[in-house]
Symmetry: C2
Subunit: 225 residues, 2 copies
């Protein structure tokens, strides 16, 4: 099991988050990468509700994950996927395979997730605002075009770059936010891809590990607010 | 001069775009990186107005830039910055410096640009829509917090990771979209940072090269529509 209190590699996550966010906090990405590649890591858990002031010196916006490994500290889950992928083999070190994995990894973070961020904002967090229902149609249309581009490139392929890679960890964790939406249901290539990715045992272990830490640190009644 | 028709490294850009987009097309990023590191490249220019069907087999959404180098093809300007930075020295190959450069590069693309994409959408492209004026205040507030995090981390430093790196090419090209906005004007650390970055001779050469190709390929009257 990659979680090992004595491991050198350390991933910072939140001790507890409200139920709607559980299983979706972004430390899931480096956890998943470590599980895939058998890299042992220890956890450092901080409070999401009262983020320690010193933590903003490590992570500019007080977010998780944060990673320390071999004396190197990093923020941004995408940067961690590159670091871990180079260490454990899910990012080839040269050739077209490296080019393709880097292209799709950056695509997940810059060409797809920005639309999904805002789509979740419009349909969940800000859904009762005056602007969100008016914004939804044009956003869904633009996001749909982005999704069509992934589906077309994937075709009958199993993974984005041939073999499973950090690009699939990036893209699957991005697409997961659209689970149970029409946008995914109407694109069987993408829903099958997401199902394939999340059926991997390493994904299940990473998810269970994140959820375990929340169960262990759930606030007692009255503390929650 | 890095532009050399016989160079092995090829950057695909648009032959011409409307004036509002000139100087902002994303092939500016790999051009700038090549100029900084003295990497010779040739141009391949395609039509932005009628994107060739075959091009979607190379770039999933028909966008530019696209890069070919040493037999490796890549899309996503962020992926190209990593590839070129490793080749030319603006992305250290190991240690904390690599960790910091990767963190800030991914931050530019995933933690900052998504907010700026939508801010430009709200204040420029969709400004006459029913939803954009209603969306603007909350978006400006969230974007402002993100900008404050960069300014706090930068402090009195010259560049994001100590020495100038691909992280600065990424962040400066992202922040440039806020030039002449209050969001930047009210944050002198960031406006000075952007000014410092765009005062670099390599930036000026990259910008001039992009603009030259537009001037050479401007449609004649009547063709433009």
């Amino acid at each position: 099991m990659p979680i090992d209190p004595n491991a050198e590699l350390e991933i910072t996550g939140f001790a507890w988050v409200p139920p709607f966010a559980q299983g979706h906090v972004r430390d899931l990405r480096p956890r998943w990468a470590c599980e895939e590649m058998g890299l042992a890591y220890r956890e450092r858990l901080i409070s999401a509700l009262e983020r320690p002031e010193w933590y903003f010196d490590e992570q500019p916006w007080g977010q998780v994950p944060y990673l320390r490994d071999d004396g190197i500290a990093m923020f941004e889950s995408g940067a961690m996927l590159i670091h871990l992928g180079e260490k454990g083999g899910l990012l080839p070190m040269s050739g077209q395979e490296r080019g393709t994995v880097l292209s799709w990894t950056l695509a997940a973070f810059n060409s797809i997730e920005p639309y999904i961020f805002e789509y979740i904002n419009v349909t969940v967090f800000a859904r009762k605002s005056d602007w969100a229902p008016l914004r939804e149609p044009s956003l869904a249309k633009d996001l749909g075009k982005r999704l069509d581009g992934i589906a077309r490139a994937l075709g009958h392929g199993e993974w984005l770059a041939g073999s499973f890679s950090i690009a699939d960890i990036a893209m699957a964790t991005v697409l997961r936010n659209l689970e149970q939406t029409e946008l995914l249901a109407t694109r069987p290539i993408l829903s099958a891809y997401l199902e394939r990715a999340t059926a991997r045992p390493a994904f299940a272990r990473a998810l269970a590990d994140q959820l375990t830490s929340f169960a262990t640190h759930a606030p007692t009644a009255g503390q929650e607010a």
